[in-house]
């Protein structure tokens, strides 16, 4: 089981590394969206500090969503997905591997970049640490839940816009607890509770999401 998951992860990572422009484009999207806010609302440090958790988290949500169609679309186009569906390993297991690979490519760079962008918003050191930690805990859930949407919209007309319609409402709990953790640190309450709930969402999301995703993929392949 572990061997097949590792094989899927390795394959997806290798493919992603050969098309680095996709990853970098999503990252720059994240940076640009975050940088637009100070230009839009003005450079007062107090205001920016209050906005920072929400802005960074919403931008992370959008950046993750931008890279979701890539999760299955290429494999679907060249027929790899059908071969994977025929493989003796459960399709959900393969999906699990692909979700992990997606997170490594799309989620982890956001986690590493967010503290740097947080400095633009005049966040204190402890808030920066919690921001990175909350993204580290929360972004796997985004990849997991997003996989369901990516599988449902596979090969559908106007898939990209539809994907955001389906996935963004489901992302709301992650957003609330993720941004809430940073907010709680800023107001001196401690982020423990929010981070625990975020961890629960991630464990639940990443564990359960592969099954509906696999079911949706089978429907798309019919």
């Amino acid at each position: 089981m572990l061997v097949s998951i590792r094989a899927v992860i390795g394959r997806d990572l290798r493919l992603a590394m050969r098309r680095q422009s996709d990853i970098i484009a999503a990252l720059f999207f994240f940076i640009i969206v975050v940088s637009l806010f100070p230009l839009g609302v003005g450079p007062e440090a107090d205001q920016l500090r209050r906005l920072a958790p929400g802005v960074l988290w919403v931008a992370a949500l959008l950046a993750t969503m931008l890279s979701l169609p890539r999760l299955f679309a290429d494999d679907h186009r060249d027929g790899t997905l059908e071969q994977l569906a025929l493989a003796p390993q459960p399709l959900a297991l393969i999906v699990f591997g692909k979700v992990i690979a997606h997170w490594l490519v799309a989620g982890l760079p956001l986690v590493l970049l967010a503290p740097v962008l947080g400095i633009q918003f005049d966040l204190a050191n402890d808030a920066l640490a919690i921001l990175a930690l909350s993204l580290l805990i929360g972004t796997p859930a985004l990849s997991g839940i997003g996989a369901i949407g990516a599988a449902l919209t596979l090969g559908v007309r106007g898939g990209g816009v539809l994907l955001s319609l389906l996935v963004l409402p489901l992302y709301i709990p992650v957003l609330i607890f993720g941004a809430g953790a940073v907010d709680a640190t800023l107001s001196g309450l401690g982020a423990q509770a929010h981070l625990s709930l975020l961890g629960a969402l991630t464990l639940g999301g990443v564990f359960f999401a592969p099954w509906p995703t696999a079911a949706a993929l089978r429907i798309a392949l019919e």
Partner: protein, 249 residues
Amino acid sequence: MSERVINWFKYASPQTFYPLAGKLIPWFWALAAIFGLAGLTIGFLLAPTDEQQGEGYRIIFLHVPASWMSMFIYLVMAFWAGTGLAFNTRLSGMMASALAPTGALFAFLSLWTGALWGKPMWGTWWVWDARLTSELILLFLYIGFIALQAAIDDPRRADKAGAILALVGVVNVPIIYFSVKWWNTLHQGASVSLTKAPSMAAMMLWGMILCALGCWMYSIAVALMRVRTIMLERERHTDWVRSVLGEKE
């Protein structure tokens, strides 16, 4: 098999369900009209004026039933979607897609009437409160479901994809509800609950229950009408649809 055993699956096929739905629709319309009129009469003419909220509270006679229906219809829709996915029946998926627009309508009505009520009572059209937010997300979920089904041309695939989305949404609804509840809240708690005596006058309660029944009957009637059109559209190549349409012409 003896004839006394009722065949529950007889009406699971569109061919037999179509005439049955046609027969039921007038009854549900009649019930909807009776319950609705009775509820509104009690609500607007007989129920006492609220001590604190004045006459403005009367909007709850539409607001509360609409909110109830929006949540209940989502559950029913997910139930039909799940049944369709599990047993691969044609009619279940049609029922789910027939219910979605009515559910979305009620979610929208609930938000709209809530805003009209909130302006005089809270002094604002909208607050980011737990219930308002989760109702708004429920509307988004309905819209996502409808949009997904509309984007897929093959109706069987649309049904199945929609079913997965509806089931994922049903798991997510309580999570969303509690997450927004812990995040921020202003909306008053429910005035009606099954476990304790309601904190409102009996007359108001009756008005509300009758209105809710009226909305319920209306939903059934409209969903049946919609499912009849969906059946005709999807089964247009079959003989029974030709004969049904032939009779009318």
